[in-house]
């Protein structure tokens, strides 16, 4: 059984479900806009410091939206006992995991498509391909890690508490490098290319680790 086909089928199924119910993306997009609003008042943003504060707000909003998006990917499955049904087939758990992680990333990316222009709009920061690239590259690694731990805590008590506790320490390198990348792209000091290559390194490292760990987390 070809794992790529399995992953594709799972991703398609998740995306199709989301398309029909439209539960996650609108709620997340709203959340992100609100986060930007809070950022504005919480930080006393004005035209002078907007560029230095905006990256921070971006990553804060992204981190919290990510926790919700990835948490939901597996919590919803659980409620429907459907994850077990999938695991009862001969399909490889890693492929199933990959499919779900890809679908969840795409949903988060859809929200980022709202967030980045909004950030630009509200804070007057440049909206460039560099910023978009940094966010996209970071999303890949963050999604793999977020989904792995979401799968783990879905079967554990107190999951809303445990998911951030486990995931955030692993997201810190992405936030550091990604934060730097976005800052550089917005004109602050620091090397953009170094930041991006770090992000790519982290992506590779954690994608490999996550795919190795997935079968221990999903399978009984």
């Amino acid at each position: 059984m070809n794992p790529f086909r399995v992953a594709l089928a799972v991703a398609r199924k998740d995306l199709r479900s989301e398309w029909r119910t439209r539960e996650v993306v609108p709620a997340l997009a709203q959340f992100i806009i609100l986060a930007l609003l809070i950022g504005n008042f919480g930080f006393q943003v004005d035209s002078r410091n907007a560029a230095s504060i905006a990256p921070g707000i971006l990553w804060l909003a992204l981190v919290f939206a990510g926790l919700v998006a990835f948490g939901r990917t597996f919590a919803a499955e659980r409620e429907q006992a459907s994850l077990e049904a999938m695991l009862m087939t001969p399909a490889s758990p890693v492929a199933i995991f990959a499919g779900k992680a890809v679908a969840a990333s795409l949903l988060l990316i859809a929200c980022e498509a709202v967030m980045l222009p909004a950030l630009s709009l509200f804070f007057g920061t440049p909206f460039s391909a560099d910023v978009v690239a940094a966010v996209l590259i970071a999303t890949v690694g963050m999604a793999a890690l977020g989904c792995l731990f979401a799968a783990m805590v879905a079967r554990v008590r107190a999951r809303e508490l445990l998911l951030p506790l486990l995931t955030l320490p692993l997201w810190i390198p992405f936030i550091i490098a990604g934060g730097q990348a976005v800052q550089s792209a917005m004109g602050l000091p620091g090397s953009y290319s170094e930041a991006i290559s770090l992000l790519i390194d982290f992506d590779i490292l954690f994608l490999v680790l996550t795919s190795l760990a997935a079968r221990f987390v999903l399978d009984e």
Binding site: M152, V156, P169, L170, I176, Q180, G190, A213, V217
Partner: protein, 217 residues
């Protein structure tokens, strides 16, 4: 350990720049090294557990994590005391302090996962995964923060040069601390073994399992 304590206070000369408070350094760094040793035990225990489900490996991992968190807490507290006295601030966002804090958070998470997951196989498996990711994450975080500071240069803070008497004291203290950690792990391992035994061995109630057909009322 008592000998180490005596050595710290009477044998090592007072550091020229920092004064008596510098003596905390011996225990602070030794604690940190002991903690890393403990987490290495967690890593190895976790990997072995995932490969062949050995309960002993899991017990080592559990013990290592608990003792490691204790030592990390000690490291952090001492670090903060030192920082306050020497620099005037409890905390600085440099690579070492940040990674130690992240380390603490990760293994606190490890212990929580153990507590909240289904005890037995599930808890052991999940914790092993957390332990492995955690162990890899700490150097990555350390590296990231170091890299960050190269992007944003600031004052260099920690001076590591050591005269011979201090070095000797330090190595001795470190050796004692590591031994202490090993002993604590061994004790904890014994406790965990007893806990495991208590939970797994029930006296099965005497039940007659009928094998012939019989009408059930």
């Amino acid at each position: 350990m008592l000998i180490a304590g005596a050595a710290i206070f009477f044998y090592a000369p007072t550091d020229y720049l920092q004064g008596p408070v510098q003596r905390i350094f011996y225990l602070h760094v030794s604690s940190a090294i002991a903690a890393f040793g403990c987490f290495a035990v967690v890593l190895v225990g976790g990997v072995i557990y995932l490969r062949n489900e050995s309960p002993a490996a899991d017990r080592f991992a559990r013990s290592g994590a608990l003792v490691g968190v204790v030592f990390t807490t000690v490291t952090l507290v001492m670090g903060m005391l030192w920082a306050k006295t020497v620099w005037g601030a409890f905390w600085v966002w440099d690579a070492r302090l940040t990674s130690t804090l992240v380390l603490w958070i990760i293994y606190a998470g490890y212990l929580l996962v153990r507590r909240l997951a289904d005890p037995g196989r599930q808890a052991a498996r999940f914790a092993a995964v957390v332990g492995i990711f955690g162990f890899i994450d700490v150097p990555v975080v350390h590296f990231s923060v170091t890299w960050w500071t190269t992007q944003h240069p600031g004052p260099v803070i920690i001076n590591d040069a050591l005269p011979p008497q201090m070095l000797a004291t330090f190595l001795f203290t470190m050796a004692c601390t590591v031994v202490l950690a090993a002993v604590m792990i061994a004790i904890r391992y014994r406790i965990e073994t007893l806990v495991d035994e208590r939970e797994q061995v029930f006296e099965p109630a005497k039940v007659l399992v009928a094998r012939e057909p019989e009408p059930v009322q």
